[in-house]
């Protein structure tokens, strides 16, 4: 699909409110802003309701009989089960503090992308169908009935929220729109309303262990290809182990990084680091061809699906008898691990308290999950002088850092990546205040919205982040946007091509791998991307 040129899109952002009341403006489902519906196959595979072929542009969405009752009953159950949902439905005073904090609203100007109104789409149903005031007073009490038109509106806008939680930090009550969207999508899934870009990875993950549907022998083949590449660059070939019983640590990372650039270079960074740790300190880290996915698109489907897909991490750790788990650079994966895993699929009492066998550091923050973030692990190694790094290999890199939403707002993970970056590169510039750390802007494609067909809304949603990148690109000649999330690596690449050409995207461990001096390496000529290393151009 042809997309508007950046300057046209920028000029066309219209923040003028419509003349009618929001309840009187039905959703106009526009190509470029919605994702295709899931076909029946992935839903059948995991036993999700109402599998069928349907098209959001059709009048008939082929809803199951009694769908209104399914949604209302489902909402009632969740209001009782999730205290947060009940509070978020009740306490909003519509102050509007969140209104202009959403990247999709800033970039699209669509009022229903204001978090307050997005929540109101569902809240109005709660009021109209489940509260006495709403049942009697209707619109005067902010209530409305659940109709097919209303349902379509909820589907359209709940798949234009990336669950980034930026709005929640500006809300004086702490209302978390991500939690409302999570419940909203869960309700929609009860009657088979979803998107293919989420449902297919979910089914793949359940079948093969990862979103891309990579089978064990292919997973191994792909990693071995990277080892061949590393051998060409370093003269040394890492020999990763797979599914090794009795290894020290199990490593789990998003599958996108074993397949598509630039995540592949991050993956090479992991392999280089693990080889170094094996050679220097005898640390045995193994990869799993079963728990071959860190990401979890179940989070974007339902709590139950998230739990089912997440279960393999602990199961595999138990089967292999490792001490603890190390997790790769991913965004939403860490929301699932940090906020849900130990209560959902734990307690992992068969694992040990994570202690770095190299530095002796106890990762107290991971004492319940038994899973440590690789950036934290690497930062600790650097702090204790355990890595032999040569920054000059990254001398061409003038980087900034994009705080990925989930590790930033979900974990308070701000300093570790910056510490690692400052130890592997010379030139680092922060993007402006208000766009980083807890106030970071989404890449525009989080929560399973990094599909192709909704490119327009992704680019609109990417605008605030792009503006901040453009600022450091223009002012400091920044040429690299580093991040610690696989969806970011995919989505930001397209986003900077569109809004800020001339900037590339990388994972933090690509830069770590490139700077690391492997024992016995030959004289290096290129970086991990095959580009000539700084200082080697003349030779």
């Amino acid at each position: 699909m042809a997309i508007q040129k950046p300057d046209t899109m920028f000029k066309n952002i219209d923040h003028k409110p419509p003349r009618k009341d929001w309840m009187d403006v039905p959703a106009d489902i526009k190509p470029g802003r919605y994702c295709y519906a899931a076909g029946p196959e992935p839903l059948e595979y995991v036993g999700m309701p109402n599998p069928r072929k349907w098209d959001p542009l059709d009048k008939d969405w082929k809803l199951p009989e009694n769908w209104e009752n399914t949604i209302i009953t489902g909402m009632k159950e969740r209001l009782e089960k999730y205290r947060s949902f009940k509070i978020f439905m009740d306490i909003c005073v519509r102050c509007g503090a969140c209104a202009d904090k959403c990247h999709y609203f800033i970039g699209s100007g669509d009022p229903k992308n204001m978090p307050v109104l997005r929540a109101e789409l569902l809240r109005s149903i709660y009021r109209g169908e489940l509260t006495t005031a709403g049942q009697i007073l209707g619109r005067f009490a902010g209530g409305r009935k659940l109709t097919e038109e209303v349902l379509k509106e909820i589907w359209y806008y709940y798949y234009q929220c990336s669950e980034c939680r930026r709005c929640s930090i500006f809300c004086p009550y702490g209302i978390d729109q991500a939690e409302i969207t999570i419940i909203g999508r869960e309700l929609l899934n009860l009657i088979g309303l979803n998107i293919g870009w989420i449902a297919q990875p979910v089914a793949n993950c359940y079948r093969t262990g990862n979103h891309l549907g990579i089978q064990p022998h292919a997973f191994k083949d792909m990693l071995e290809f990277f080892c061949d590449d590393i051998e060409e660059i370093y003269g040394i070939k890492p020999e990763p182990t797979f599914n090794k019983v009795g290894a020290d640590i199990l490593f789990v990372t998003p599958s996108g990084d074993v397949f598509a650039d630039p995540g592949t270079y991050t993956c090479m960074g992991y392999l280089i680091l693990f080889h170094y740790l094996k050679e220097e300190y005898g640390l045995d880290i193994t990869w799993s061809t079963y728990a071959s996915e860190g990401g979890n698109f179940g989070l974007f489907t339902s709590h139950e699906m998230m739990k089912r897909l997440n279960a393999k991490m602990y199961m595999e750790a138990k089967r292999l008898g490792v001490k603890w788990i190390l997790g790769g650079e991913c965004g939403h994966m860490w929301r699932v691990i940090h906020q849900y895993m130990d209560t959902m699929n734990g307690p992992a009492d068969f694992l040990e308290m994570p202690i770095s066998p190299i530095t002796g550091t106890r990762f107290e923050n991971a004492s319940s999950t038994k899973m440590v973030h690789i950036v934290e692990f690497t930062a600790d190694l650097i702090k204790n002088g355990k890595l032999n790094l040569n920054k000059s290999r990254n001398a061409n890199v003038r980087a900034t850092y994009h705080d990925s939403c989930n590790p930033a707002r979900g974990m308070g993970f701000f300093d570790e990546p910056r510490y690692v970056l400052n130890n592997v590169i010379d030139t680092f510039h922060e993007m402006p205040q208000g766009t980083t750390k807890e106030q970071t802007f989404c890449c525009g494609g989080g929560s399973g919205l990094n599909a192709g067909e909704n490119e327009e809304i992704r680019m609109m949603g990417g605008l605030p982040r792009a503006n901040a990148v453009k600022f450091v690109h223009d002012k400091h000649d920044v040429n690299m946007l580093s991040c610690i999330c696989a969806i970011d690596r995919a989505t930001l690449t397209a986003m900077v091509d569109y809004w800020v050409p001339g900037v590339q995207v990388c994972g933090v461990h690509e830069l770590v791998g490139n700077a690391l001096i492997l024992p016995g390496e030959h004289e290096r000529e290129t970086d991990l991307r095959g580009e000539t290393l700084p200082g080697k151009e003349e030779e």
Partner: protein, 120 residues
Amino acid sequence: MPYLNIKGREIELDEEGYLVNEDEWDEEVAQTMLKDLEGIEMDKETLEILRFMRSYYKKFNAFPILNAVCKKLHQPKECVHEKFLDPLLAWKAAGLPRPGTMYTESHDDEHKVYKLITAQ
């Protein structure tokens, strides 16, 4: 359903132009897809890439890493981009099914560089 018509032989395609039955693939099918639909001439290297993708898919049931294709065939590093522009066109011309968890994206109308994007 659209069809490819090759000397009276009708080959069924899906809505996005992928072969419905991958066993109907042969060089002629690939040539027609590339030349008639995209204006791309088939040469020895192009055919090598298509054959590699088919054999990789048969063995691994997966799309190979693009750099690995070029390296294993001893072709230039960007061989798939050079020959097909869009890597998914190579997959399509190799007669393989539409991959559900990846797409390619390009923003520059004049100098198209398709980037492969996957679900993560």
